[in-house]
């Protein structure tokens, strides 16, 4: 289990190795990598800046991760979220879940992403090719996605 908030890029392979290498009790490993796209609903994106709430971010990510570990039998889990200025193609977020069985790993990864999108204090600002920038609006979809875990 672990949570990291960092400006630097991450390497998915070495993160997975660090938590699963040499272990023979893990049957399923899921990684979710979120990346900056070059457009947002048709609007071209030159760069994206991620602001966050230092201190609360780490606490909230730890709460979300603990929540996932309480709901599913996970052998390992990891959340890494980047901050600062990023370009299209750059990594933003990594979620890794490992379990004995595939459904736990897949569901926990979906849960972590849904909760991360609706509870972790990050804000994205997009800058277009002419330098104009705007804050990304929260998607209704993300709230809906997160609510599906409440009744389970």
């Amino acid at each position: 289990m672990g949570v990291k908030v960092q400006r630097e890029d991450f390497d998915v392979a070495s993160e997975v190795d660090a938590l699963a290498s040499g272990r023979t009790d893990i049957g399923a490993i899921v990684t979710f990598t979120g990346r900056v796209r070059d457009d947002d609903k048709g609007r071209p994106i030159k760069s994206m800046t991620l602001e966050h709430y230092p201190g609360m971010t780490e606490e909230e990510l730890s709460r979300i991760e603990a929540d996932a570990n309480a709901r599913w039998p996970l052998q390992a889990s990891l959340i890494i979220h980047r901050t600062g200025e990023l370009s299209p193609g750059d990594n933003i977020v990594l979620v890794v879940t490992a379990s004995a069985h595939r459904q736990a790993a897949l569901e926990a990864a979906g849960f972590l992403m849904d909760y991360l999108k609706t509870r972790a204090p990050f804000w994205k600002k997009e800058t277009g090719p002419a330098g104009e920038s705007s804050w990304v609006e929260a998607r209704e979809n993300d709230e809906t996605a997160a609510t599906r875990w409440r009744s389970t």
């Binding site: 991620l50 709430y53 201190g55 609360m56 933003i92 977020v93 999108k117 804000w123 609006e137």
Partner: protein, 91 residues
């Protein structure tokens, strides 16, 4: 509670809330009649037009008390740090 000991609290602003208010943080002495987060917003709006603009859509702005998400009816009590920000958009 006596106003001889005003409660000091750190306020933090993020994303467009920060931009509209024009600063990232400040320390304020809370008036006695500020009991909840909603009370705090009402009081902040009396402090200048920048707060009026930041909280124009008060139902959109979210709050955290001591780094925990809260609703606007949450009591402030002995909070050290209260943050205001738009709905989060990470991930």
């Amino acid at each position: 509670m006596s106003s001889a000991h005003p409660r000091k609290v750190k306020l933090l602003y993020f994303a467009w809330v920060r931009e509209k208010i024009g600063r990232a943080s400040e320390e304020v002495a809370l008036p006695d009649n500020v009991a909840t987060v909603a009370d705090l917003v009402t009081w902040l709006k009396t402090r200048g037009p920048e707060f009026g603009e930041a909280f124009a859509r008060a139902d959109v702005v979210r709050a955290a008390v001591d780094k925990t998400h809260v609703k606007s009816d949450a009591r402030i009590a002995e909070a050290q740090e209260i943050a205001f920000f738009p709905p989060v958009t990470g991930g």
